[in-house]
């Protein structure tokens, strides 16, 4: 066996000076030399634990081997067998809690940088379209129409699969752009919008029709869709409704949900105001409440929009933070101040209803709760205030009731998600499947994508059996 190399290749990044003033991608991607060097560290384990750690079971050592052998078309092919969005997943998957967590080298403190290699291969594919084996659309048309509600990762992956199987697929999307959170949520400095657009164009090239401005539950219901000749419906509307803290002062001017803040920036391009019409207000002192990816994204946006002080307010400690490690590091490098073990008590405003400060409790950690993380406990009489002019509430999102409340016979869980069989994506309603955040609650891009694939397979076998 080759000598173990623990020298994990660092990701080249845009310099701190320049990136604080633009929305261009921060992580620049490996050079070919770095990619080969990193790939050479893989031990090609006979029973690779990394594959088990990957939610869609990518044949990780195999694609790394192809990369090592300079066979990029083959590396691409292996990735795409299991993951139709590698360029996106390589950038946004929480690898440290999935494949890289299971890598045998993790015990030695230096897992193979699987995500960065995945991204490297996907980026090679994008710049060499002529060399990639095309999986042309299936010629065997079934003449059956399938409707997909929502164009996020779940909807895109499900429609790509079904189109390749020969179905006529229409995506109904509520907003004026496709892509779901990839478009309106995750900022371009982490996921450039041309990469997302590339994936959407690919799905369209398979013959999938995307109808924008279609708010299902309003312009038509799921029942209408089924009556209008669609043989099956896949629900992938995500979990888009923002949660608030429900504390005094939360409706003051200057307090945004992360969804509003990020939508103004990513979807409406408010960071280019006044060239674009949609405005955004980012003051000088900003508090972002939450510790997930969404909170990091919002904090890093405000830093780019010129805020002097950006605080992350998180009620547990650094170890419990759900955000990707890389983004936490980037945020701190960019000057975001982590105010850990603090929890908001109330917002304070002036006579004009404008936010001026936030009052916080200090917290401590108790016993682990049912998520396995140590429970935050309020320390009595520990209140203190920070002067702020903007707050962004990034507590997470829950399912939007628009579709559930307008669909007959669709059973829900007590969290408002659609009751779904994880193995097939089936719901309680005939001919209706569901996947992604609407089925699981806010989760990850890769799990949404995986759910789209599972549902496509189940829809196909159901339609084959019903003739």
């Amino acid at each position: 066996m080759a000598k173990i190399n623990l020298n994990r290749q660092p990701m080249p990044k845009q310099s701190l000076e320049s990136r604080k003033n633009n929305f261009d991608e921060v992580a620049l991607g490996y050079t070919p030399e770095q990619a080969l060097e990193e790939a050479s560290r893989c031990l090609q384990c006979p029973k690779p634990p990394c594959v088990t750690g990957c939610p869609v079971g990518i044949d990780i050592p195999d694609f790394i081997k192809a990369l090592r052998e300079h066979d990029m078309p083959e590396a691409t092919h292996i990735l795409k067998r299991k993951n139709s969005l590698p360029g996106i997943c390589g950038r946004v998957c929480p690898q440290e809690s999935q494949c890289e967590k299971s890598c045998v080298l993790t015990k030695k403190g230096a897992p193979v940088a699987i995500g960065r290699l995945e991204r490297y291969v996907a980026d090679w594919e994008r710049s060499h379209p002529e060399l990639v084996r095309k999986q042309g659309p299936h010629i065997d048309h079934h003449g059956k129409k399938i409707a997909i509600v929502g164009s996020g990762p779940a909807g895109l992956s499900c429609s790509a699969q079904l189109a390749q199987m020969g179905y006529e697929v229409t995506i109904f999307e509520a907003l004026h752009s496709a892509g779901g959170v990839l478009t309106y949520g995750i900022p371009s400095f982490r996921l450039p919008k041309d990469i997302v657009q590339g994936e959407i164009d690919y799905v369209k090239s398979l013959g999938v029709e995307i109808q924008l401005d279609q708010v299902i539950g309003k312009i038509s219901t799921v029942d209408d869709i089924l009556k209008n000749g669609y043989a099956a419906v896949f629900l992938a509307p995500g979990a888009g409704a923002p949660m608030f803290l429900d504390i005094p002062g939360e409706n003051l001017n200057g307090i945004y949900s992360a969804n509003e803040f990020l939508t103004r920036i990513n979807l409406m391009k408010a960071y280019l105001f006044p060239e674009y019409d949609t405005p955004i207000k980012t003051g000088n002192r900003v508090a972002v409440i939450g510790g997930g990816n969404v909170a990091m994204d919002a904090a890093r946006c405000t830093a780019r929009l010129g805020a002097e002080k950006v605080y992350i307010i998180y009620r547990r400690s650094r170890t419990e933070m759900p955000a990707r490690q890389e983004e936490r590091e980037n945020a701190e490098e960019e000057g975001v101040i982590f105010t850990l073990l603090t929890n908001p008590k109330r917002f304070i405003g002036d006579d004009h209803g404008k936010l001026t400060a936030i009052e916080l409790y200090k917290m401590k950690l108790g016993e682990p709760d049912d998520t396995g993380r140590r429970r935050p406990i309020t320390i009595p009489e520990s209140e203190f205030t920070i002067d702020i002019d903007t707050a962004i509430v990034a507590l997470g999102t829950k399912p939007n009731p628009l579709i559930p409340s307008s669909t007959t016979g669709l059973d829900l869980t007590r969290w408002g998600t659609v009751k779904t069989d994880a193995a097939t994506g089936k719901t309680s309603k005939n001919s209706v499947w569901c996947g992604g955040d609407m089925a699981t609650g806010a989760a990850t891009v890769i799990s949404a994508m995986g759910a789209g694939k599972i549902a496509a397979t189940s829809i196909d076998s159901y339609l084959k059996n019903t003739g």
Binding site: P274, D277, T278, K281
Partner: protein, 279 residues
Amino acid sequence: MSYRIIAKENLTQDIHLLRVEAPAMANKAQAGQFTMVRSDEKGERIPITIADWDKQEGSITIVFMEVGATTKKLARLNVGDTLLNFAGPLGRPTEIKFFGTVVCVAGGFAIATIVPVARAMKQAGNKVISIMGFRTKSLVFWEDRLKEVSDNLIITTDDGSYKRKGLVTEPLEKLLEQDTINRVIAIGPTTMMKACSTTTMSFGVKTMVSLNPIMVDGTGMCGSCRVSIGGKTMFACVDGPDFDGHAVDWELLMNRQRTYLDEERESQRLLEKRLRPEF
């Protein structure tokens, strides 16, 4: 999707009507619902009430007042042009049923939006008394249209240049004193809806208002449109836009509407510069 403009009317100098091809929306639209409109790639999404719909023709009518950059851009569109985005029908429809006597009060551009409400109320068997208020005579429009769907129509102008001088709340108060009124609907500028709600409060007559906070998506995913109703936070785009006027926190609404005052001025200034480069 192409949302072609098939008719345009300038109702007053600043208030315009567009009839837009949108067959699926026309099929579902109900009184009180709205649509999110975007004119161009760099444009903002703004909410506009559905003023009328025609299932046969497959069209939706909107009426809007030029107040800022987006509405000014919309005002420059003509028959044959298309809107880039047009999503709806959004929001909950106005509660329509037999109440008895219903007073419909509208001010400014909202005259257009109250017509379908008055019509539906009348069809539901109500006696409909409408009050329309304008600043001055030159701003009066759709008198005949509202008359057609009302048993009785009262018109006020602030300066007395046409019909009755004064604010809409004056005839409203008279009606409440004289008759049994079972429901009031008030649509228009925020201050007017607030004043109507204050007027009806002491008579205990339920008053529905159509709130117009700043919106982004119009589908319940951002919370920009949050309003406080009886102390509870609600999203106007999905829980409304109609709410009980007696439970609305008006001060909060007005504060939140002012969030982007500086930016709105900046946008307008730039638009005017683009349109009239000599200035």
